[in-house]
Amino acid sequence: MRTEPRAVALISGGLDSMLAARVVREQGVHVEGLNFYTGFCVEGHTHAVRRQDRERPKRNNALWVAEQLGIKLHIIDVVEEYKDVVINPRHGYGQFMNPCLDCKGFMVGKAREWMAANDFDFIITGEVIGQRPKSQLKRNMPVVASESGAHDRLLRPLCARLLEPTLPEREGWVDREQLYDWSGRSRKPQMHLAEQFGLEDYAQPAGGCCFLTDPSYSRKLQDLWQARGERRYELDDIMLLKMGRHLRPRPHFKLIVSREDGENRFMHGYRKRFTHLVPTSHGGPLALLDGEAAEDDLELAARLVARFSQGRDADRVRVAVTEREGTPREMEVTPMAAADVPQEWYVG
């Protein structure tokens, strides 16, 4: 029979959750990490696909944090379940399409399920009161604890002393006096504690870890729903929103035009599911056509693809057009001049 308390920590890969887990681990609690894959995670995807990002050394920040802390990390695929959070957030969206309060409640709820299934005692998050505009407001802290079902088994070590004592504190599994009372948007306390722990290298919070906080991505998601006439998505949809330029020249179709080799290669895997276009007389990008296109739409699409090819200044460019798994046929078109592409066609 075990006597050591066991905690499961939500690990995003950022500094706050790393510190929260470390603070509890310092008190002799066995800690393991959970990281949730929603499909909207910034990490990895653009890195894997786009060359400019590949120049940075590749690392999964959540795994890196786990290594630094010396804890196990379990990565959980929540793509399907997460759809309801994005499509029907009970508490609405933040500045963009980010349902942060619902998201936090969902993730703590999944952690609660994992805790129960794996015989753990409580949950740790890296929340700081007032750090984020909505999900980390003091009045919303009980909302997350309640809606997740975690109740007083949810410990926020970085701001615990500003909140009612939780079960781990009351039971003496952790010493409340060694927890923190941080609030506000300043990062100084975190950086100071990181220094005390000897942590010099950690992910910076700029931009967050979720595409739903990105204004351009959010506009592309709204465009997708508007074009479909319903709010739904599949994983491939939200992956492709991260790729290429998106242009919607007509309400019934849009083009996703790759911007470089990595995107070209990744989008290659989607050719058989989309009408796709690629220049043959000149070097140029692969473009996927999402929607239904009549013959004049295809010609317009080919002219747009030619505009992004190396033949953009040529009189004529040949473009291979393949309708899903059909046989490719060539269209010879005049590249559209950059000035003739209305700005409103660009989505995002």
Partner: protein, 86 residues
């Protein structure tokens, strides 16, 4: 260990999905079992060894064909415990 490695196909998936596929496969295996992971995301070069380190598994071999399909093969030996033995 002469048994054929368990094949896990993560081709076409971007990280962390290959890690999740491997994690799910390893969950049902005993210490000493072998898994061969097929992937196309170059991110596996960093993420799979990192995941194996924290869970105590060993990456025994990595081959990257650099072929047009860009298939990367990793052979993983299931270990007993990770660095998490606190």
């Amino acid at each position: 260990m002469s048994a054929e490695p368990l094949q896990v196909d993560a081709r076409g998936l971007l990280c962390p999905m290959p890690v999740i596929r491997l994690q799910d496969a390893v969950a049902g295996l005993a210490e000493g079992a072998c898994v061969q992971l097929l992937a196309t995301d170059p991110g596996v070069h960093a993420d799979i060894p990192a995941w194996c380190r924290v869970h105590g598994h060993q990456v025994e071999a990595v081959t990257d064909d650099h072929d047009p399909d860009g298939i990367i093969r990793l052979r993983i030996r299931v270990g007993g415990s990770g660095i998490a033995e606190q």
